[in-house]
Symmetry: C2
């Protein structure tokens, strides 16, 4: 069932190199429709909210006639959108795995004391609209809905128009009032890195989602003829940039659990016979400890200043994005630990270097995450893979966590 | 006259950022037509050859009825095409300055024992067709005419079609038979670098045109998520490339009179959140001593191998262009020295880091060059400038060299 459903989703938006399923496009709407059809076939009650998030619920009051206030559900979920030429597991696994966990709980005959819910969050990848974790960010109150409505997609359409358009909100699915938070949240996801595979772990207990800081570095040197300007007296923007790239790497190597990357670098005029006059590069710096990010940033800025001064190249370092580290909630993490340890003696505690919807939901509910390994550590590519037995084990751990959480004494 | 003519040429192909005068385009044809009109107004006899080179001659037999074999002329010249958004002096100065030198010699009443000729070489900049020094290369027998005919321009048209088209060979200008070489050649040009300005020299005696070698370096690392792949175990193609950029700089700093530049570098996939999987860069390496180029190449290749091995990044270094250094001919250089020293006590001997038509003509005739300074060392840009008094001094030195060369005992 898990395998078939992941395969059916993978066919939606399939390209030669992977899967393109940007928010509110035909392929992404088809994925949400499939989610709704599966959920209903599994006997779940389906709703959506104004941000495009879709919820499928097991148990709890089925209508207002119960007369009592509805207790908040224990939630799991992930997203159905993909990066360009993305893979079949990033996001989709947490959604389909959630349905599968609820199906097994329902079949077991257990009647958990709280409703359980699977969410398909809208637009986690920043696909189409320039905001990552769009749906979960609105849901968690981190971004006002009015701000999201004004976002302009890469095709020029606003979110407000797209959400009402033919590929926006689903027909025949009730739209919730507001964004009521869950009692607790757990997200099942692929690791997207090589650590678990290297360590032989099949389940990962996420300790925290790394904080992230991004910088735009502008280097202003002096362009010149590559044949006529002597080496001494050059202000080569690319030589300066190369020293900065290596300083960024060094700053991360000198810290624990910290990664720093220059993934984007553009040379101007970028001609073989012209000394580079200008370079723009971007630094991505992450750690589960914000203090380590602070330290690495200070080291990088100090080196950038030195390099600029030594070479006569103007160097400016501008912070363009900041996201604090989000530790997982202790009680939920303990429930995840127990569920994982029981199923995998080599389960490890691991930080998430990537961002996830969980980091938004963590602002409104006790939140944790479960990882399964990525083969070769590859993700955001068409050949993103996880072993079927690991996918299966993750679903089992998720089901166990949901059940345990449903019995825990959450407020609300 | 010099100033007005340079101004008239600068208006042809003028853009917001400089001058675009690619070979066999309307602006470039207009420049050749202007050259012909000026030459005829100055009483010179004009011819062209099949490559699009245009010749304006003073003196010598005026027709075949003289009955005696025509002695080869002493030639000067440069080119009328420009790089994209180029300047008003690179090339144009040598052509207009040549006309001006001949006009002064004619007005002085001297009757040199050999004809003097100004050449406007076709397509020196590799503008439109992928061959630098196109016209002078054919003229000097370095590139067979049939090979040039087959070249495809950046608009898809062949040279063979363009040379016969509306912006190709000029109407009403006789086409020479073959490519008869001159007795000697001297080229007047702007320095295009900062050395003369720094040294306070107004005239430069070129010692040699630097040899040049170009390499394409391909770095194959492993792309990955910038947040999830730990630092140890990365094979970051941009970190490896950065070390190579600095090794290239180091190899040139450690050698005399050698320059090395990475002007072109492209990162893939060039996204902020992806560890670079691939980098392509190009190295431009030049020296007036081919042995120094050899040594620098060996050092760069050795370091590239080390860096690749240390980082687990595949590194291949491919030679894509090789041009040997061309020393100026001793007797012509001595004539240039005398003409320059007489006019500028601070005249210096200087290597040309840039290529020029002179390096082709040097294969068929004794050849030398005269430089004038470039303000701020800037060239190949719209604000390329040389002080008017220096332009004037260069023309005087050229006229003196031409006269002296016309009296020298060249064979042919």
């Amino acid at each position: 069932m898990l395998h078939d459903r992941l395969g059916a989703l993978a066919a939606l938006g399939a390209t030669d190199d992977g899967i393109d399923r940007a928010l509110f496009t035909p392929a992404e709407r088809a994925a949400r429709e499939l989610f709704v059809a599966w959920a209903r076939a599994d006997g779940l009650r389906v709703e959506q909210d104004r941000a495009g998030n879709v919820f499928a619920r097991l148990g709890g009051a089925t209508d207002a006639s119960s007369g009592s206030a509805q207790a908040a559900p224990v939630q799991c979920g992930s997203h159905l959108d993909t990066v360009r030429n993305g893979g079949a597991y990033d996001g989709a696994y947490g959604v389909v795995g959630g349905l599968e966990a609820l199906r097994r709980i329902a079949e077991s005959g257990e009647a958990p004391p709280r409703a359980l819910e699977v969410v398909a969050w809208a637009g986690e990848e920043g696909s189409r609209f320039p905001l990552g974790c769009l749906g979960s960010s609105v849901y968690s109150g981190l971004t006002p809905y009015a701000d999201v409505e004004a976002l302009v997609g890469d095709d020029g359409e606003t979110f407000a128009a797209a959400v009402r358009g033919p590929y926006g909100l689903l027909d025949g699915v009730p739209v919730r009032d507001g964004f009521p938070p869950p009692a607790a949240y757990v997200e099942l996801h692929i690791e997207q890195g090589p650590v678990m595979e290297r360590e032989g772990a099949r389940l990962g207990i996420v300790s925290a989602i790394a904080g992230q800081r991004r910088f735009r570095v502008l280097l202003d040197g002096v362009a010149g003829h590559a044949g006529t300007v002597p080496m001494r007296g050059r202000a080569d923007a690319l030589c300066a940039a190369s020293e900065i790239v290596l300083a960024v790497e060094r700053a991360a190597l000198d810290a624990d659990d910290t990664v720093a990357t220059v993934g984007h670098l553009v040379v101007e005029p970028n001609q073989t016979n012209i000394v580079p006059g200008r370079v723009v590069l971007r630094i991505d710096l992450r750690s589960v400890e914000d203090g380590r990010i602070d330290l690495a940033e200070r080291r990088i800025r100090a080196r950038a200043d030195e390099i600029g001064a030594q070479r006569g190249v103007g160097v400016s370092v501008e912070t363009i994005e900041t996201r604090a580290a989000v530790p997982m909630e202790t009680r939920m993490r303990l429930l995840v630990s127990a569920a994982c340890a029981e199923r995998d003696p080599r389960a490890i505690t691991i930080a998430s270097g990537a961002g996830h919807d969980a980091m938004c939901v963590a602002h409104v509910a006790p939140t944790a995450m479960i990882f399964v390994p990525s083969i070769g550590g590859r993700s955001h590519v068409g050949d993103e893979r996880t072993a079927p037995a690991d996918l299966e084990l993750g679903v089992e751990a998720l089901a166990a966590t949901l059940l345990a959480a449903a019995h825990a004494p959450w407020s609300g």
